[in-house]
Amino acid sequence: MDSVVLLQRQLVDYTAQLFNEGFLDDQFNQLQQLQDESNPDFVVEVVTLFFEDSERLLNELAKALEQQSIDYRKIDAHVHQLKGSSSSIGAQRVQKVCIAFRNYCEERNIEGCQKCLQQVKNEYSLVKTKLETLFKLEQQVLAAGGSIPWPM
């Protein structure tokens, strides 16, 4: 019994930290609210789609910025998509870098774009690690017989 409470405490604290540090925003809460018994893995499924799509987009962006002649419209389209999907799961810091990225695209500023690509890769990597940790903590709570106390 005690271990469940401890694990839940850990989960609540970790989640609060992610919100406080701006990794996640309220949209993530919206996702949690959509999850129910008929679809208990909804959040994990959607976030997994986000991971797959983001990785593809980041590869495309890296390729596009290596070209001799830069196609800023294509880059902008990719960043726009990344911005949309990151905002839809509440990955706030990724979304914020995308906004700056798009501005550099508009200015056709190659250095700015390259800097932003590095930044967005970092932010993506961070939020991915943190979400994976969050999901692991959730699994531990469930495995110990506890329930996920949402909203936190």
């Binding site: 949209q27 919206q30 996702l31 609210q33 959509l34 129910d36 679809n39 909804f42 499924e45 959607v46 789609l49 986000f50 799509d53 389209a77 726009h80 998509q81 911005k83 949309g84 999907s85 905002s87 839809s88 799961i89």
Partner: protein
């Protein structure tokens, strides 16, 4: 929270979610699903036109403005063409109280772009991502729920 099964014949409200981002589609579909709405997805405007040409009808279409193949605005004018061809059928459908409500969904928040979007024939506009309350406000607008 009120959900509606539509008319007394128990038919569900049908919606078509149109976005090239599958993350958004998954979220919007789940949202609509929880409100008791039967939904389908399309990845672009062309798929929407094809669906309509094959005879499929939807009560509500949630359309992203920013799509690669045939963006939202081009689709609107195709819909108008289609309605003109099937004018009589549309009038009969309208007399029965049935019509597709088209709602634009986008991240664009510049007034001029929103106006352009609305002028192309939308019934409503909402900013991405959708939330239950936004969808419910749409449904209230079109009197599908009390």
């Amino acid at each position: 929270m009120a959900t509606s099964n539509g008319s007394s014949t128990g038919t569900k409200i049908t919606a078509l979610v149109v976005d090239d981002d599958r993350v958004i589609n998954a979220i919007h579909c789940k949202l609509l699903n929880k409100l008791g709405i039967e939904n389908h997805v399309a990845a672009n405007g062309k798929e929407v036109v094809d669906l309509h040409c094959s005879g499929k009808k939807f009560d509500l279409i949630l359309m992203d403005r920013d799509m690669p193949i045939m963006n939202g605005i081009e689709y609107q004018s195709k819909v108008t063409e289609y309605s003109l061809l099937h004018g009589r059928q549309q009038r009969e459908l309208r007399a029965m109280g049935v019509r597709s409500i088209i709602v634009g969904v986008s991240t664009r928040s510049i007034k001029q772009e929103i106006q352009e979007f609305m002028d192309s024939g939308l019934d409503d506009y909402q900013e991405k991502p959708l939330t239950s309350s936004k969808v419910i406000s749409i449904l209230h607008k079109i009197n599908f729920v009390d």
